[in-house]
């Protein structure tokens, strides 16, 4: 009787294990599938366009004749928007994390944290519209020469979008700093701000840097805001007031433009996507490496 029971138990355990493993493999297999298709189409692309041209040419004009396939303008556009976004999100995200972890009372925190979480849930298309219809007019009011589509507006709004992410990851890292370290500092006559800046942030630095890198990686891959607000003109510039095009926005443009399957324009999408994939992959690896390398042991 007992033996039969435990046998049935081990069978159901076995089945559950298989189901759970299947769930894991869905995401792993999908990732492998994506990489394989990316590599396939990308090699097709590089049979037509040389790697040298791809990485050194300064123009990206796949839809014009003569077509140029230098990815630099798209990479520059992507980084321009991303850098603006991080410049907005990092200080505000850190400040909000410091406030929540060191200053806010339990009550205040209970109100603010859900609000930040709501911000995370706002669809990016809404942020894109917000950039185009609210931030851009303000910028153009102050700086009338600004293009309607510009990197600055998209970057600012993307930064706003990233604040909750940086804030919540950094706050997690800060609240993980043991209370005993804060007390040690207070007992040495430290003020609240000194405790935050000289004890909590240094102790939580790996988590904070990791939050920046993950935000960076998210910003590089973000599509909707830049498609709506930053423009569609590949532009090798560092002027944030000009219209640019990011890697993601280019991909959207070509996919929606129904480029003929197998054509060089179609394949260029995969080459760009592959570069994007490598960039975010390496950023994520660096982020995780930093977390592990500098993890504080309390």
């Amino acid at each position: 009787m007992m033996a039969g029971n435990s046998n049935a138990r081990s069978w159901s355990e076995r089945i559950i294990e298989v189901l759970l493993a299947a769930a894991v493999s869905v995401s792993i297999l999908t990732t492998i599938g994506i990489v394989v298709s990316l590599v396939g189409e990308t090699t097709g692309f590089f049979r037509e366009v040389s790697l040298v041209e791809f990485f050194t040419a300064k123009e990206w004009t796949p839809l014009f004749t003569p077509a140029h396939y230098g990815i630099a303008p798209l990479v520059a556009g992507t980084f321009l928007v991303t850098v603006i976004a991080i410049a907005v999100a990092a200080p505000l995200g850190i400040a909000s994390a410091i406030y929540l972890s060191e200053y806010a009372s339990v009550k205040v925190r209970r109100v603010i944290k859900p609000i930040l979480e709501i911000l995370v849930g706002i669809p990016t298309v809404v942020y894109g519209y917000f950039a185009l219809t609210f931030i851009t007019p303000i910028i153009r009011h102050i700086l009338p020469d600004t293009d309607v589509f510009n990197a600055l507006s998209a970057g600012i709004v993307m930064g706003i979008m990233l604040i909750p992410m940086i804030s919540s990851l950094s706050e997690d890292a800060m609240t993980a700093v043991p209370r005993s370290l804060r007390e040690a500092a207070y007992a040495l006559s430290a003020t609240k701000l000194e405790v935050a800046l000289k004890v909590v942030i240094p102790a939580a630095i790996s988590g904070i840097v990791a939050s920046f890198i993950l935000a960076f990686s998210r910003a590089i891959g973000e599509t909707m805001i830049v498609t709506l607000a930053a423009g569609g003109t590949p532009n090798l510039t560092i002027n944030p007031l000009e219209s640019i095009q990011t890697m993601t926005a280019f991909i959207v443009q070509i996919i929606l433009g129904e480029a003929p399957f197998g054509s060089i324009e179609y394949q260029s999408v995969f080459a760009v996507a592959f570069v994007l994939f490598l960039l975010t992959l390496s950023l994520n690896i660096i982020g995780h490496w930093i977390v592990r390398r500098y993890r504080e042991v309390y």
């Binding site: 040690a184 207070y186 007992a187 006559s189 000194e194 309390y298």
Partner: protein, 250 residues
């Protein structure tokens, strides 16, 4: 008693609605060692933390009554708790060095408080004061976490000494240490009493009788007995004190 450095008057401390200390009045003698003893939860740490306003940091804690430091009430509205902690330092039960170098740990307090002298010699002097200098002088820039528990606790004492406080509050500083490390800290505490006043919480009766000049016994938030250590241990007035120190107590 000799000079009084701290004078506690009708001190009541609550956490929310829990009363942790009930109307405590006692005086602390300068350049002496005062031990606070009593069963777990009787309010020893609470009293210690009231003496440098560390209880301010606990949400829901409220204090009434007075703590006069050299005649001035540290709970007066005009008093900045940060300034109080400059005079009255604290060492905790569990060693809690910062995840920084040995040097940076000791230099932390002076640096944030705008010390203008020679930091190097202040650090050396503080480590010597805590009896740690000889052991760490060749590795001041190693991480403090590489030290043993007893060394870390002496580092925490050095760190507190670097601010040259008048009073040092020690909350069971030896409870995480082995007997030899404990003895070293006890010796150290006795040397330190030349320069400053020490209030120490301990669960260890022998420790209290070995090092303290005065001993206060607490029970459920009340001060039951307070006097010269010798007297408290050999001829306690209250029956409850006797039961506690002879171990006939839960």
């Amino acid at each position: 008693m000799n000079n009084i450095i701290l004078s506690i008057k009708n001190l009541t401390v609550k956490y929310g609605t829990t009363v942790a200390l009930k109307n405590i009045s006692m005086e602390i003698a300068q350049n002496r060692i005062t031990a606070l003893i009593g069963p777990s939860g009787c309010g020893k740490s609470t009293l210690l933390r009231s003496l440098n306003r560390m209880n301010d940091l606990i949400e829901g804690a409220s204090v009434s009554g007075q703590v006069l430091y050299r005649g001035e009430d540290i709970y007066a509205p005009s008093v900045d708790p940060v300034a109080v902690r400059l005079q009255i330092g604290m060492v905790f039960q569990k060693p809690n060095p910062f995840p920084k170098s040995i040097f940076e740990n000791v230099a932390f307090g002076p640096k944030i408080n705008g010390y203008r002298g020679d930091l190097g010699s202040l650090v050396k002097q503080s480590l010597q004061g805590a009896g740690l200098w000889e052991e760490v002088k060749d590795r001041l820039h190693d991480n403090a976490y590489a030290l043993s528990g007893g060394q870390q606790q002496r580092l925490c004492i050095a760190r507190a000494l670097a601010l040259q406080p008048e009073v040092l509050l020690l909350d069971e500083p030896c409870s995480a240490l082995d007997p030899i490390a404990t003895l070293r800290i006890e010796e150290l505490i006795q040397e330190l009493k030349e320069q400053l006043t020490i209030v120490i919480v301990t669960h260890n009766m022998q420790q209290a009788s070995r090092i303290a000049d005065y001993t206060a016994f607490f029970l459920s938030g009340e001060l039951v007995e307070y006097g010269e250590t010798e007297k408290v241990f050999t001829a306690p007035v209250d029956k409850r004190t006797e039961d506690y120190i002879t171990g006939r107590f839960g």
